[in-house]
């Protein structure tokens, strides 16, 4: 068996294996991106489900804060119905603001603050906020890796051939958040 024959057989085999490997890698990461996005959704829904409970608990103690409570409920319903990512992001901002006002207002009601239910809900909501933010973080990290993968050589050849496209980062630009950072010394 001449060396030439061996090479002629081995090279295509190696190339085919590499193509299969790269393609599978790209598929895996593409699905991870999808998965990561779905995870954000899960956490957002969780927040929507917690809020009616919170409103009920607060109502019992802070009868005068009707307006604040209504704001929260309204914002929550809007966010739950939003569909496009931009609308979701905007509605989420409003909801976060409304929740902040609600918790600020509750500071004036010591009975409410001592209520176990309220404390548990606060922990749950705060944890859910964290989860949303971590889910976004993970999503963005995954997208970054995926995009880098399909843009670097040699996988970009594969990506081009099979039509893999860069995914979009999830940016919620909250102007209030930006301002808060600037205030730090």
């Amino acid at each position: 068996m001449a060396i030439a024959t061996i090479v002629l057989i081995a090279v295509p085999v190696v190339v085919v294996l590499w193509v299969i490997g790269s393609y599978n890698g790209l598929i895996k990461w593409k699905n991870q991106v999808k998965n990561a996005w779905a995870q954000i959704d899960v956490q957002l829904k969780r927040r929507y489900d917690l809020i009616p409970n919170l409103v009920e608990t607060v109502k019992g103690y802070a009868k005068h804060e009707k307006e604040t409570l209504e704001n929260v409920t309204k914002a929550r319903n809007m966010a739950a119905q939003a569909t496009s990512p931009k609308d979701v992001a905007a509605a989420e901002n409003v909801l976060s603001g409304a929740l902040k006002s609600l918790f600020a207002v509750s500071e004036a009601y010591p009975d409410l603050k001592a209520n176990q239910n309220f404390l548990a809900l606060q922990e749950e909501l705060s944890s859910t906020e964290n989860k949303i933010s971590f889910a976004r973080q993970f999503y963005n990290d995954t997208v970054a890796r995926f995009n880098t993968m399909i843009q670097s050589f040699p996988k970009n050849i594969m990506a081009g051939m099979f039509g893999f496209q860069a995914a979009q980062m999830f940016e919620i630009e909250a102007p209030e958040e930006r301002k808060a950072v600037k205030v730090q010394f």
Binding site: S127, F134, Q137
Partner: protein, 311 residues
């Protein structure tokens, strides 16, 4: 944003270094097997024997499972109602890491420490002491859980089992060498070559187990730093872990449930808390060769450096 790039570089670097160390352990094992085999005139069977030992150890320790570790320490699994905050913190970190949520265990002890076990992320457990729950705030607890999650995500339990297998196999082979020595076969024809091989074999039999242990400890320290970096990656808050480490070490109640076999699993070595505090106060950053964990001062400084580059 600059931080992810720096962090990923650091993490990649650490993974490379530990892979290299692992490879040197494997090479050491192969060399030992080869030389001994050469001495007994069959290097191939020497290497096969070495692999045989390794495989045997691996199977046993792989399936022994983390349940045994937890049982031996008296850890109790908790569900959400038992400690919602702890549960939430673990859940948050597993979302950030993109892995299934590990089981959560708690040990009743005034000593503050935490550890993680599990051969793969979907079969993992994280354990904390009641002591640590008392001294850390939510942010710092999250950083510690992040560190443990890092161990899970980086397959560190599996890694350390593999290392232990290497070390054990090398030790066993060297031991076998001493026993079998009396029955060696030598022919007069290649007496001199035999003598040289014998010398090499003896030197290896003495030094290889020690070298293997040193490699093992070095790998353990690298993986600890890697877990610190992963915690920073997950929380984006390295300062919290730095503070948590300082608090843990200052509260130096030894955890008497740990022993030399399990010490490497914890976030700080539970058998050395007093010494850790002294080292931290002295600003000592060089690790001893037999240390399972890097010095706290070094860990804290690296974490704070990350915090500043985030800028």
């Amino acid at each position: 944003m600059d931080t992810p790039t720096h962090l990923y570089d650091q993490i990649a670097g650490n993974k490379r270094k530990s892979a290299l160390l692992m490879i040197s352990a494997v090479l050491l094992l192969a060399a030992v097997g080869f030389i001994f085999g050469l001495y007994y005139k069959s290097p191939i069977s020497g290497m096969l024997t070495a692999s045989g030992f390794a495989a045997f150890y691996l199977l046993i320790t792989y399936y022994a499972g983390d349940k045994i570790v937890m049982l031996s320490m008296g850890a109790r699994e908790i569900s959400k109602p038992d400690n919602p905050q702890l549960f939430n913190v673990v859940e948050e970190m597993s979302i950030a890491a993109g892995i299934p949520m590990p089981k959560v265990y708690v040990i009743q002890s005034s000593a503050s420490n935490a550890f993680a076990t599990g051969m793969s992320p979907d079969k993992a457990s994280i354990c904390v002491t009641t002591g640590i729950l008392q001294i850390l705030n939510r942010e710092e607890l999250q950083a510690v859980v992040g560190h443990e999650m890092g161990h899970v995500k980086n397959f560190d339990s599996r890694f350390s089992v593999l290392m232990a297998v290497m070390v054990g196999a090398i030790a066993l082979m060297c031991d076998a060498f001493w026993r079998m020595n009396r029955r060696s076969r030598s022919s007069d024809k290649d007496g001199q070559a035999q003598a040289i091989i014998l010398v090499i074999a003896i030197v290896l039999a003495i030094l290889a187990p020690l070298a293997a242990r040193l490699i093992q400890f070095s790998v353990s320290r690298k993986r600890e730093l890697l877990a610190d970096e992963t915690s920073a990656e997950l929380t984006r808050n390295p300062e919290a872990l730095a503070r948590a480490l300082e608090k843990i070490v200052s509260d130096h109640d030894p955890l008497d449930l740990a022993n030399r076999g399990t010490q490497h699993l914890f976030i700080t070595n539970p058998l050395k808390s007093g010494k850790d505090l002294q080292q931290l106060q002295a600003g000592e950053e060089k690790a001893g060769w037999f240390d399972t964990h890097p010095p706290i001062a070094l860990r804290v400084r690296l974490l704070r450096k990350m915090a500043h580059t985030a800028g």
